[in-house]
C-alpha cells in the first residue's frame, strides 16, 4: 500500500456521497461508501449491486451520488462493471471518448459471497481493471436480516434464528479473501470503517493498480439493527472486530501478503483483545454460551494460524 494520507489531517475534504440518503442512523456501510468516494475522487464510475446502499441512495427522484452511478441487479454488478470498463477502454482506443474514469463496484456481502460470486469470479478471471469493494455487514440487511455466506458462526439472523435445537448460524463465515486471492489478481485488501485512513490509502492504491487488472477490498461495516446494538457503537464495534483479531487488516499485493496496524501485532495472541469484548456488545450473539465463545475463540486462533502460514509463505 502506498501512503497517500498519513494522518487524519491529510484526508480529503470533498464529498461525493450524501447527505440525505435513507440509510439507518449509525449505518456502517454509509461510512464505508463515503470514504470510498472521498478517496477515489470525482473521476470514477460506480456500479452498485442491489442491497442496502442501493435502495437507500437512489430513491427516485433523489440520488445521494455525485459521481456517475449504475445499478443493474443483485448478482451482476461485476459483470456490468466489466461492460463499463471494456466500453471505456474501447471508446478511448477508438478516439470516440476522452475519459480516464476508473470503475468501482460497491456490493454487499449477499451480492458478493453468495448470489454475485459467479460474476465476481468471472470479472477477476477475465482481468478487468475494476476495483470491487465488498461492504460486509454480515447478512442480508436490506430484506430484514437474513443469513448470508458472510454471516459469522453462531450469529442470530431471521433465517438462522435462536431456537431450541439450533442456535444461530450453524456454518462458519466464508473466507472471501482467499477465494479472491485464488484468482491471482494484483491487489486485494481488507479494511474497516473504524480505520478510514487505512481504507482511503487502500482505495487509492487499488485504483492505481487497475491498469494491471482487478483489485478487491473487503470492508467490514457493522449494522446497528442487524447486529443489534445501539447506533452510536458502530465505530467502536468495528474497531473491536480488528482489535480482537476477528477481522484482521491485511493486503495481498502482487503475490505478497502484508499485515497492517494494528493487526500486524496480532500473530501474538496476547496482543489481541479478548473476543468477548467484541461479542458481548452485540445482540446477535446474546445467546452464546461459554462453550460457544470458546468455539469462536478457537476458530479465530485457527484462522490466525492459517494467516501465519500464509504470511510465512508469501510475506
Amino acid at each position: 500500500m502506498k501512503v497517500y494520507f498519513r494522518t487524519i489531517k491529510d484526508l480529503p475534504v470533498d464529498e461525493y456521497y450524501g447527505p440525505g440518503q435513507l440509510t439507518c442512523a449509525g449505518c456502517g456501510p454509509s461510512i464505508a461508501v463515503r470514504w470510498l468516494l472521498k478517496a477515489a475522487g470525482p473521476d470514477v464510475i460506480v456500479v452498485n449491486a442491489t442491497g442496502c446502499i442501493e435502495v437507500t441512495t437512489t430513491s427516485y427522484p433523489y440520488t445521494a451520488w455525485s459521481v456517475p452511478y449504475l445499478h443493474v441487479a443483485f448478482e451482476n454488478s461485476a459483470a456490468a462493471a466489466s461492460g463499463v470498463e471494456s466500453a471505456l477502454r474501447v471508446l478511448r482506443r477508438k478516439g470516440i471518448l476522452d475519459t480516464k474514469a476508473k470503475v468501482m463496484v460497491i456490493a454487499g456481502d449477499g451480492g458478493t459471497y453468495d448470489i454475485g460470486l459467479q460474476s465476481l469470479s468471472g470479472m477477476l478471471e477475465r482481468g478487468h481493471g475494476v476495483l470491487y469493494v465488498l461492504y460486509d455487514n454480515e447478512a442480508y440487511m436490506n430484506t430484514g436480516i437474513q443469513r448470508s455466506g458472510g454471516t459469522p458462526h453462531f450469529a442470530w439472523t431471521t433465517t438462522s434464528p435462536v431456537g431450541s435445537k439450533l442456535k444461530g448460524k450453524v456454518q462458519r463465515k466464508k473466507d472471501i479473501m482467499s477465494i479472491v486471492i485464488g484468482h491471482h489478481i494484483p491487489y486485494a485488501a481488507t479494511a474497516n470503517i473504524a480505520y478510514p485512513i487505512d481504507l482511503a490509502n487502500k482505495v487509492k492504491t487499488a485504483l492505481d493498480y487497475l491498469v494491471e487488472g482487478p483489485a478487491f477490498i473487503h470492508v467490514l461495516a457493522p449494522c446497528p439493527p442487524g447486529w443489534r446494538y445501539p447506533e452510536e457503537m458502530t465505530v467502536e464495534i468495528a474497531r473491536l472486530a480488528t482489535e480482537t483479531g476477528y477481522f484482521p487488516l491485511y493486503e495481498w499485493d502482487h503475490g505478497r501478503i502484508r499485515f497492517n496496524p494494528p493487526s500486524n501485532a496480532h500473530f501474538d495472541k496476547s496482543r489481541r483483545k479478548p473476543i468477548i469484548e467484541y461479542l458481548k456488545r452485540q445482540g446477535r450473539f446474546a445467546h452464546l454460551t461459554e462453550e460457544d465463545i470458546k468455539e469462536i475463540e478457537k476458530e479465530i486462533d485457527e484462522y490466525w494460524d492459517y494467516l501465519a502460514r500464509l504470511a510465512k509463505a508469501f510475506g
Binding site: 470525482p42 473521476d43 470514477v44 464510475i45 456500479v47 452498485n48 442501493e54 435502495v55 437512489t58 430513491s59 427516485y60 427522484p61 440520488t63 451520488w65 455525485s66 459521481v67 456517475p68 452511478y69 449504475l70 445499478h71 443493474v72 441487479a73 448478482e75 451482476n76 461485476a78 459483470a79 456490468a80 462493471a81 466489466s82 461492460g83 463499463v84 470498463e85 471494456s86 466500453a87 471505456l88 477502454r89 474501447v90 471508446l91 482506443r93 477508438k94 470516440i96 471518448l97 475519459t99 474514469a101 459467479q118 460474476s119 469470479s121 468471472g122 478471471e125 477475465r126
Partner: protein, 404 residues
C-alpha cells in the same frame, strides 16, 4: 422502373455474395456496424455467431472488446454496462440462455439501453432439446424489447443493421432482438449479399447524444421507485415501444432506399385476392406456408400468407388489413402458451388484432395450430387441412375457432 433502380442501387452497395448461415450473417452484420463491445456465452444453436465474432476480433477485423463472460446473465449485464457507458453493443443467445438472462431483459428496456441481440429460437427444456422453435422468444415477449423475426440469412443480416438504427434512435432507445429459426436457419447456408462497410456505417451513425455514464455530467442510472413513480417510468417504456412502430417503418423505408431492398414490418404473399390467409413467422414455417398456399391455389382455393416480421410492437393494422376480407384464417404458431384459452401465442395476438379491427362481427373462421415435430413436414398439412375442413376441427394439434 423501380426494379431497375433497385438493381442499380444493389450493384453499388453490394460488396460480395457469400454463402453464410444465418448465424454467420448475424456476425457479418455486427462487423459492419462498428460495434464496440460484444459479450456472449455459448449455447447451441447460437454458438457459431459468437465464434465468428471472436474470430473477427482476434484477427483485428473488428475493433471491439469481446468479453467472454461466464454466463448469459452476465452477457446481458455486461452489455448493459457498456451501453450505459456510451458503447455500441451486441450479444446473442438462445433458449435456456435467454431464460437465464430473463431478469435482465426487463432491466435493459427499463433503463432504455440500445442493446442489439440475436436469438436463434430454440425449444426450452425439459426435456432438453437443442432444436428450433420459438418458445424462448415468446417467453421474452413482454420484456419491452423490439422483436423482429427474420426468415432468411439475408434478412438476418439486413435486420441487424436496421436494429442498430432503430435501437439508437432517440425516439426509441429500446433494446432490439433479432430472432430466426434455430438450426433450420442458424445452421443452414444461404447466399447472402454483404454490403460495402461505408454504406452500412453511414446508415448507422453512432448516437452519443443519449444519457450515459460520464464523470463530467454524473447521472444516476438504475434507481428504486415507489409506485407513484414506477408506473410513470414503466409507462414511458410501454409508450416508447408502441410509438417505435413509426420509427421502425421509417428505418425500413430508408433501408430499402439505401440498399435496394423491399422490407416491410410484415411480408405479404399472394394476399391481395386471398380468401384463406395463413399467418406465421420465421423461416421454415413461412417457406412451408408459401408452398401450401401455392398448392392450395392449384386446387382452386385462393390462399395467401402473411408473415409477421415485426413481432413487437405487433403489426396490428397490417394483420387486420390482411384478414379483413378472408373467409378463413389459420395461425401457425411455433410456440405454446399452455393453459391459455387457445395455446398459440401469436394466435392470441391475431385475435386481439381482430377485436381492434372490429372484425369480430364478421363471419370468418380462425384456426390455431402448433406443428408437432419438425415444422417442415406438418405445416403445410395443417394448412391444407385448415382450408379443406371448414366444418370439422382440424386435427394434428390444430384447433378451430369461429365466431360471428
Amino acid at each position: 422502373m423501380a426494379v431497375t433502380k433497385a438493381l442499380s442501387v444493389r450493384e453499388e452497395v453490394v460488396k460480395e455474395r457469400l454463402g453464410l448461415t444465418s448465424n454467420y450473417a448475424a456476425a457479418y452484420a455486427v462487423k459492419s456496424v462498428d460495434v464496440d463491445v460484444i459479450a456472449a456465452y455459448p449455447i447451441t444453436p447460437q454458438t457459431t455467431i459468437i465464434e465468428k465474432l471472436a474470430e473477427f476480433v482476434a484477427n483485428g477485423e473488428i475493433d471491439a472488446e469481446y468479453i467472454p463472460v461466464e454466463s448469459e446473465h452476465s452477457a446481458l449485464s455486461a452489455v448493459i454496462g457498456a451501453a450505459a457507458a456510451g458503447a455500441r453493443v451486441f450479444t446473442a443467445t438462445s433458449a435456456q440462455g435467454l431464460e437465464f438472462m430473463h431478469e435482465v431483459l426487463y432491466i435493459t428496456s427499463g433503463l432504455r439501453l440500445p442493446v442489439v441481440m440475436a436469438v436463434p429460437g430454440r425449444a426450452l427444456s425439459a426435456p432438453i432439446s437443442i432444436h428450433g422453435d420459438y418458445q424462448d422468444i415468446m417467453s421474452a415477449r413482454d420484456a419491452g424489447w423490439v422483436v423482429m423475426i427474420a426468415s432468411s440469412a439475408q434478412e438476418v443480416y439486413d435486420s441487424i443493421i436496421m436494429a442498430y438504427r432503430i435501437a439508437e434512435d432517440n425516439r426509441v432507445l429500446l433494446p432490439v432482438m433479432v430472432s430466426y429459426d434455430g438450426f433450420l436457419m442458424s445452421h443452414t447456408t444461404e447466399p447472402v449479399e454483404i454490403y460495402h462497410e461505408e454504406y452500412v456505417r453511414k446508415f448507422t451513425p453512432r448516437n452519443l447524444n443519449r444519457p450515459r455514464l460520464d464523470p463530467r455530467k454524473p447521472i444516476t442510472v438504475g434507481v428504486i421507485a415507489s409506485p407513484d413513480w414506477y408506473y410513470e417510468i414503466k409507462y414511458q417504456v410501454v409508450n416508447a415501444l408502441k410509438e417505435s412502430k413509426g420509427v421502425i417503418k421509417e428505418v425500413h423505408d430508408e433501408f430499402n432506399k439505401t440498399f435496394g431492398t423491399n422490407y416491410d414490418i410484415v411480408e405479404r404473399f399472394m394476399l391481395d385476392d386471398a380468401d384463406y390467409v395463413l399467418i406465421t413467422y420465421g423461416g421454415a414455417s413461412t417457406g412451408n406456408a408459401k408452398e401450401a398456399a401455392i398448392r392450395a391455389r392449384e386446387r382452386g382455393l385462393r390462399a395467401g400468407v402473411l408473415r409477421i416480421r415485426l413481432f413487437r410492437p405487433f403489426p396490428t393494422d397490417e394483420v387486420v388489413n390482411a384478414i379483413k376480407d378472408a373467409r378463413a384464417v389459420a395461425v401457425i404458431d411455433r410456440a405454446l402458451s399452455p393453459g391459455n384459452t387457445y395455446e398459440g401465442p401469436v394466435f392470441n395476438d391475431v385475435v386481439s388484432a381482430s377485436i381492434v379491427g372490429e372484425l369480430i362481427s364478421r363471419s370468418f373462421l380462425l384456426f390455431t395450430a402448433y406443428p408437432r415435430g419438425r415444422c417442415s413436414s406438418t405445416t403445410s398439412t395443417i394448412f391444407i387441412k385448415c382450408l379443406m375442413s371448414t366444418r370439422e376441427p382440424v386435427s394434428i394439434r390444430g384447433r378451430r375457432y369461429s365466431w360471428g
